[in-house]
Amino acid sequence: MRVVLDLDVCQGHARCARIAPEVFGLDDAGYAVLLAEDVPPGREGAVREAAAACPERAIEIVE
């Protein structure tokens, strides 16, 4: 499972970093950064939840 983040769409709601902090961090201005493009085993559920929870729909999951 891979994650693609659309930084033109991200507005820094910070929900992803709250839900799946192993995969999503925040930069100094609070916008999302990918900590790992490939999702660590066992964290798929949290990453799916983070993607679904993004208010801007900026997170895409590639299976």
Partner: protein, 421 residues
């Protein structure tokens, strides 16, 4: 301003007027009627506005800044109720040069400078201070067995957080602010954000002028005073206006959701007992409260080019209100949207807006909101509205109560509790 048109809000949704008390007090029922009719509703007052009520339509419009510009104002700022254009007002014009009314791409320059003051990590540093101040406020009324949740707790806490934690006004100067608010003439519809800010204008201007003379401490005021925004420093009047914007966006909004949620809990003892027993549930409960009672109900936009939204033709120059509060209760997305459900997926509520102008302070607001509930419920787990009192909303685009008096079993102040232990 408590004038009503005598119209029936539920029958005349096309006469929707966000300043008419009849509509304001029935706002959520009016939104429900709008949902029955469609996503984009025409409202005739103030020269004609489109109310965007559907979740999908708000999602589309809020993110499309090229078509839906935020460089605009609320209806009463531009027009009389019968549609006469108002002459320009300098107090409104200066707000058009603040963060909230500047569209991308220039907007991004503002956010890159200001966002760093509002990240989760930065606002987390204020947690201990917010918790302490919440308890100082509770100490002042806990022994008496009665208080006004809005006037004695939610509203002052919200002022303290923004003025002391964000703007670094020394805590000992907070009473000066409350003196200004207390000196306002009584208003039957509650004091609007505009009224409150006008009363504080001189205080805020003097405060920013003092800060300009002091060594920088690296907070948001210093960024506004000293940083370059898209290649140039801000003139002093724009620094002040942006500080006023932070107040407008951060004080009544957060205070209102605290008070409204505690009002909900006063009527739902089962939920209240659950949150008291399991404080970890307060965080998800806050999100469902935000969905139900998000403070910023409506935000204006101007249509920049002809477009179609949810099947409705909009023309260049049309006025639009994004009804975030309606979108968060859209039955197309939420089953029985008027009900509080702790287990609900709340991630797409629109309490903080969406797109480039989403609330810059949402991380701080969430923190303050959660702490305010945690501390009050920990010390006053059971409370009842004063008999005969009824919930009345302020006549404003912020949803919140005019007052909220409660009674409860008296508790003890912290210092005394500590001495006894």
């Amino acid at each position: 301003m408590e004038t009503t048109t005598g119209r029936c809000p539920l029958h005349d949704i096309h006469e929707f007027d966000m300043y008419d008390p009849d509509y304001v007090q029935a706002m959520y029922d009016v939104f429900a009627r709008m949902h029955e009719e469609g996503q984009v509703i025409r409202a005739e007052p103030y020269g004609g506005w489109w109310i965007i009520a559907g979740h999908e339509a708000v999602f589309e419009a809020a993110r499309d800044y090229r078509t839906f510009s935020r460089h605009t104002e609320f209806p009463t700022h531009c027009s009389t109720r019968d549609g006469q254009r108002l002459p320009p007002n300098p107090a409104n014009d200066i707000m058009l040069r603040t963060l909230i009314a500047i569209d991308p791409p220039r907007h991004k320059g503002y956010r890159l400078n200001l966002n760093p003051h509002f990240t989760p990590a930065v606002v987390a540093e204020t947690e201990a201070m917010i918790r302490e101040q919440a308890n100082v406020l509770i100490d002042a009324f806990v022994e008496s067995g009665r208080c006004d949740v809005w006037l004695d707790y939610a509203q002052p806490l919200a002022h303290i957080v923004i003025f002391a934690a964000v703007l670094n006004l020394p805590l000992e100067r907070i009473p000066e602010l409350f003196a200004i608010i207390d000196a306002l003439p009584p208003s039957p519809g509650g004091h609007s954000v505009d009224e409150l800010l006008t009363s504080m204008a001189e205080f805020v201007t003097d405060f920013v002028a003092e800060r300009r003379e002091q060594p920088p401490i690296g907070d948001v005021v210093d960024t506004l005073l000293h940083a370059e925004f898209n290649g140039a420093k801000l003139p002093f009047e724009e620094v002040v206006a942006n500080v006023v914007l932070i107040l407008a966006a951060g004080v009544e909004t957060t205070g209102s959701i605290v008070a409204t949620s505690l009002h909900h809990l006063a009527r739902d003892p089962e939920l209240r007992a659950r949150l008291v027993a399991e404080p970890a549930l307060i965080e998800p409960a806050c999100e469902e409260f935000l969905r139900l009672y998000g403070s910023v109900q409506l935000q204006p936009r101007t249509v920049m080019q002809d477009t179609e939204l949810a099947g409705v033709q909009l023309r260049q120059g049309d006025h639009v209100l994004l009804a975030y509060a309606a979108a968060s209760r859209d039955p197309r997305l939420y089953d029985r949207p008027q009900e509080f459900r702790l287990e609900r997926d709340t991630s797409h509520h629109m309490a903080f807006g969406l797109g480039a102008h989403r609330c810059i302070g949402s991380n701080l607001a969430r923190l303050e909101f959660r702490i305010a509930l945690e501390e009050l419920l920990a010390r006053i787990p059971d409370f009842t509205p004063v008999e005969g009192w009824e919930y009345r909303r302020k006549i404003d685009h912020i949803q919140g109560p005019i007052d909220f008096p409660i009674t409860f079993a008296p508790g003890v102040r912290r210092a005394l509790a500590g001495a006894a232990g």
